[in-house]
Symmetry: C2
Subunit: 142 residues, 2 copies
Amino acid sequence: MRDRKLEKQLEEKRALLREKGVVLTTPRLIILEYLFENPIHPTAEEIYNSLKRRFPSISQASIYNTLKLFTKLGVVTELMIEKEKARYDINTTPHAHFKCIKCGRIYDVFEVPLPQREEISGHKVLTTQLYFYGICQKCVQS
Amino acid sequence: MRDRKLEKQLEEKRALLREKGVVLTTPRLIILEYLFENPIHPTAEEIYNSLKRRFPSISQASIYNTLKLFTKLGVVTELMIEKEKARYDINTTPHAHFKCIKCGRIYDVFEVPLPQREEISGHKVLTTQLYFYGICQKCVQS
DNA sequence: GTATGTGCAAAACCTTTGCAGGTTA
DNA sequence: TAACCTGCAAAGGTTTTGCACATAC
């Protein structure tokens, strides 16, 4: 049985999509659900592999299309913390991220605030990403 | 005739490479020079296209190998400010970057300091990247 | 001379695209 | 029903790899 709080957040995002005139198709709904239930900053491939077990007909194209749409609408944040591939974060509250260069884990960082700037040297700021790289607590210990 | 200050910086980086036991081959030297003379955060492709005019025998593989080596040694910083491809910055002094989502220009940002943290939630921090995205001054005006 | 690096071409990998068929509102 | 979306397969673009030859020290 699903967490009530999570269910409420999900409904909020669904409402946001409806407001924006987005058609609520099966791929979009199950990807949204997946992101809430797996807030581990998954890649498109991880989402695809997990979902195709339960929904064998889903395609890679739909995963990529949906993630791109969600990013454009601000429903998810696309992280470019890795060179190879994008990762997706359903938590769109501004926050930093830490990537362990040893184990590859990615952590949310709420301890260090993002610089909140509307303008820098005459440039209008719309979004901000702050990435830290190093050795995570688990890898430091071992 | 080349700037004397630039020549000095170049010699410093060459010395750093020698110290680290890196063989100073032609591709490595000309890429280093290129980066100093073109501090525009070029991509591997841009470097390749520019250099092959003067050194037709240079290969893509050498560009990629060299950039990876330089990044590992801390001679350049690899920017993941764009999803599609990496960009390289010879200025390894910690600083932020701004990318214009309209024209694609990438600016150095010295006005906003990077958070200087050695440790976050028990994780050991080694490097930090701060990226701003928005509309640049030139695009705002037009 | 020997370890190390280069150049070439092909492969690997992530992401996008075109289009016929299907689904949502 | 009409607009929009999905799934499939192929293509596109960046980066990596294997190997014979070449080069730096």
